[in-house]
């Protein structure tokens, strides 16, 4: 177990370095940050001095090594556009992204699961067909379009929900939350739906096909023969047996939700890390881009690591093989 974890950690470090190197190679193509940092009246000599001070005249390799060295000391530099340490900026934006991702995941499960169960049991009812059509829309429409449509209907036409931002927020220690105020809760509804729609359809379809599978098995027939009520059969027996793959998929999808929140955050001006990243690309704000990409890579690596370790813990066959090989 320990050897397995250490090997995984070592691989994770390699992945992180590769991500950092690739992103650094790409940064050369986003443009020159200097003109974004200063106004038009700044003299050429001052521009050159700034370029030298920021180390932009060094080769990509030197800049990369410096970045890695500083990152190891938890120093990601200073944002060119905000003139503020990147680490502070990230910590300020992280809660917004995590809250949005969490609510999107809750939405995906809370809506997707019942829809999946229903369509799995009543496969021919017209409500099932409506559900499946909706899920088809969710899977095929691009996120930004769904976002704009929701804004148009619920904010502009009906005036019910807000079209941008987080509403009022409350500071709890380092965490700034929008989940404790009425306007904050109102503001999270549309972006959470937009972000979670794809995952919701995924859950619906997965649960549906698993349910169809399980409903055909002998133990369900036996349960019926015993005269158990439908409710106990559907939820107590059938659903339980569908959950293993569903949990796996949801776990893996959480990484995707966090990473793909970029588009949703841009459409709804949600002040999270994805929006910060998009702003940084326009401004060639290399320190922020580098830190963001590394953070997302770390996130994925971490989730994969946890999943791997869970498999190892859950699946006895993996352990048996290892012991057998060792002997």
């Amino acid at each position: 177990m320990l050897a397995f974890a250490i090997r995984r950690l070592f691989e994770a470090v390699l992945v992180m370095l590769a991500v950092a190197l690739i992103s650094f190679a790409l940064f050369r193509f986003v443009g020159d940050p200097i003109n974004q940092i200063v106004g038009q009246d700044t003299s050429i000599a001052d521009r050159e001095r700034l370029r030298e001070a920021l180390g932009l005249n060094d080769s990509v390799l030197v800049q990369f090594v410096r970045f890695v060295w500083n990152a190891l000391h938890f120093n990601f530099g200073v944002s060119y556009q905000f003139k503020q340490p990147v680490i502070d900026l990230m910590l300020e934006r992280l809660p917004a992204t995590l809250e949005l991702s969490f609510m999107a995941a809750v939405f995906a499960i809370a809506v997707g699961l019942p829809m999946g169960v229903y369509t799995g049991i009543h496969r021919d009812s017209w409500i099932s067909k409506v559900f499946l059509t909706v899920s088809l829309i969710g899977i095929s429409l691009p996120t930004f379009l769904i976002g704009i449509l929701l804004i148009y209907v619920f904010a502009v036409q009906l005036g019910l929900l807000s079209s941008f931002g987080r509403g009022e927020t409350v500071q709890l220690g380092f965490w700034r939350t929008g989940l404790l105020t009425a306007s904050g809760l109102k503001a999270i509804i549309l972006p959470a739906i937009t972000l979670g729609l794809f995952q919701m359809t995924l859950v619906t379809r997965l649960v549906r096909s698993e349910m169809l599978e399980v409903m055909r098995t002998d133990f369900i027939k036996f349960a019926r023969a015993r005269g158990l009520p439908d409710r106990a059969i559907n939820f107590g027996h059938a659903l339980k047996n569908t959950l293993v793959p569903v949990i796996t998929i949801i776990g893996l999808q959480i990484g995707a939700i966090v990473a793909f929140s970029i588009i949703t955050e841009t459409v709804f001006q949600w002040p999270g890390m994805g929006l910060l990243f998009i702003q940084s690309v326009t401004f060639a704000d290399v320190p922020v881009m580098a830190a963001y990409l590394c953070l997302i890579a770390l996130f994925f690596v971490f989730i994969n690591l946890v999943v791997d370790l869970l498999y190892y813990a859950v699946d006895p066959r993996l352990r048996l093989d290892r012991t057998a090989a060792a002997h």
């Binding site: 193509f29 443009g31 003109n35 050159e48 944002s79 904010a155 931002g165 009425a182 809760l185 326009t282």
Partner: protein, 547 residues
């Protein structure tokens, strides 16, 4: 607003389902809570949204019009500019030019910073030192060799080495800081990208202006509160102003249409109609002081990115004029800018130069243009690449496409390279070696004065850009440079205007650039508010009113 919040329950009321009931009561609870927390009816809150961020609050960090405008509600300069951009007294009650090398400013008495300390001559001298210290983006606000002297607590003299008639032209955005506050809060150094720590002044403000800043989350939200102790009589009736960034065009428009914000900028051209036809919103347009023009490389001996080898067609004034006359500026105005631009014959807006109206564009004439090209030795035209930003100016890429189509008619084939501004400027500016043959640029002189244009856009420059940093085409005429030198020190306004007129005449005759138009400002506002739109596109809400 309150009525609206009650409405959401209705659409969900139909189903007996437990979940929707939950949702419904949640929404109801939400709207009740909202009513309870809503501020009293008398408080007026003005909300506005811009596509970019208000980054640092340090007023010397970034010389950019939106930031200057936002901070101009909080900080003030010795001078101010009124609604028509005329220079008026600010923190200085009056000033006199004692002799061409000595200016005396009489400071307004009884002015206090937000923290209660009085504004005195020491603060002016401190601001002078700070604005030209390392990291300041406003060094050009004051001549490097100017000396400031305190006469008494409310009189300051500035001693110059050379006469400068426009010394105070940009002092409306050279904001005065409190010396004691900056020293106490470790904010003497200007917040710069090279600093490892964020200083206090980047997140907090202490000005003398109409508003104070209550909270500032960079890139997210800034809350301004009315300054009850402002020395001036407020024209506005606002108690609170909330600024938010909304980057996405569609969302920004939606926020205005749904009444969540009262002011947005910019309005995307395709949504202008929708905003003006909506009874709850209005479109406010006007000519901006920014001129859009094309640069032609006249410096290199061989044109880059072209099929002409061994020579540079743009060195020939006939070729430059041919391109000028092939551009149908009225068509660009009608089709690309939907009627909102003002075609221009000059590199400066006519409103910024008293004799600007005397210049007329070379007429649009394809036949004359073809003839000029043939005379210059290019009867079959040539090929050249046009570099263009696609996220900097109003419809910048579309303008370039239109230009390319028009030049195709005289057989000048354009390879259009439209890229984001960060990449465009990386290539086209001095640091990129002016690596462009033909490019689009927009310019607003920071001082709103012609000398800035003659220096930055038309001054003879070397390869590093010394002499004329934004002169992408490398146009050079020593006569223009000599005139610019005279203009800089000429204090007689009439003579000075005559010199400027001569310089612009040379640029016009020699077709140093291809001026296109002044782009338009386009603000979307709620019908409930009235605001002042100034041609330099600074939004100063101390002139705004809301019902």
């Amino acid at each position: 607003m309150k009525l609206r919040h009650d409405a959401p329950a209705l659409p969900f009321a139909a189903g007996p389902n437990k979940d929707t009931d939950m949702f419904r009561s949640l929404l109801l609870a939400g709207s009740v809570a909202l009513m309870l927390t809503a501020s009293p009816a008398s408080a007026v809150t003005f909300k506005y949204a811009f596509q970019g961020d208000l980054k640092s609050l340090d007023p010397y960090t970034l010389n950019e019009s939106f930031t200057q405008g936002a901070l101009g509600n909080v900080y003030e300069g010795l001078t101010k500019r009124d609604k028509d951009l005329k220079i008026i007294p600010g923190l200085a009650e009056k000033w006199e030019v004692v002799d061409p090398l000595k200016w005396r400013f009489h400071l307004r008495k009884g002015v206090k910073f937000a923290d209660g300390t009085p504004f005195t001559a020491d603060d002016v001298l401190f601001s002078l030192e700070r604005v030209r210290s390392e990291g300041s983006d406003f060094k050009t606000r004051v001549p490097a060799d100017m000396v400031g002297q305190k006469v008494d607590d409310h009189t300051v003299e500035f001693i110059l080495k050379t006469p400068n008639p426009i010394l105070h032209a940009e002092w409306d955005t050279w904001y005065m800081l409190s010396k004691s506050w900056a020293e106490k809060n470790n904010s003497v150094a200007v917040q710069a990208a090279t600093m490892q720590q964020q200083s206090f002044i980047a997140r907090n403000a202490n000005g003398t202006g109409a508003f104070v800043i209550e909270s500032h989350e960079p890139g997210v939200k800034t809350v301004f509160k009315k300054n009850p102790n402002w020395w001036n009589k407020p024209e506005h009736n606002l108690d609170e102003v909330i600024f938010t960034t909304i980057k996405s065009d569609a969302t920004r428009v939606a926020a205005l249409l749904s009444g969540e914000v009262d002011w947005i900028e910019p309005v995307p051209v395709q949504d202008a109609q929708r905003i003006s036809s909506n009874p709850a919103t209005k479109l406010l347009t006007g000519a901006e002081a920014r001129t859009i023009f094309l640069n032609m490389d006249q410096k290199r001996d061989e044109l880059l990115y072209s099929n002409v080898k061994g020579k540079n067609p743009f060195k020939d004034v006939r070729v430059r004029k041919a391109l000028y006359q092939a551009i149908d500026i009225e068509a660009i105005k009608a089709k690309v800018m939907r009627g909102t631009s003002v075609p221009s014959a000059l590199l400066i807006a006519p409103s910024l130069f008293s004799r600007g109206g005397e210049f007329k564009r070379h007429p649009y004439d394809v036949e004359a243009s073809k003839k000029l090209l043939a005379e210059a030795g290019y009867p079959n035209g040539f090929e050249v690449a046009l570099d263009c930003p696609n996220d900097r100016y109003v419809n910048d890429e579309a303008i370039c496409q239109a230009v390319a189509a028009m030049l195709a008619r005289i057989n000048v084939k354009i390879n259009l390279r439209a890229v984001p501004k960060a990449q465009f400027f990386a290539r086209a500016l001095a640091a990129g070696g002016y690596d462009t043959s033909f490019s689009l640029l927009g310019w607003t002189p920071g001082s709103l004065d012609s000398w800035n244009v003659l220096l930055n856009l038309a001054g003879c420059r070397d390869d590093k850009g010394i002499g004329g940093p934004f002169n992408f085409g490398g146009y050079c005429n020593p006569k223009v440079d000599a005139l610019a030198k005279q203009i800089l020190v000429e204090t007689d306004i009439k003579k000075r205007d005559e010199l400027i007129f001569q310089a612009f005449t040379i640029l016009h005759e020699e077709v140093s650039h291809l001026p296109l138009h002044q782009q338009s400002l386009s603000w979307g506002i709620s019908s409930k508010v009235s605001v002042v739109q100034r041609a330099d596109n600074q939004f100063l809400f101390y002139w705004a009113r809301k019902e």
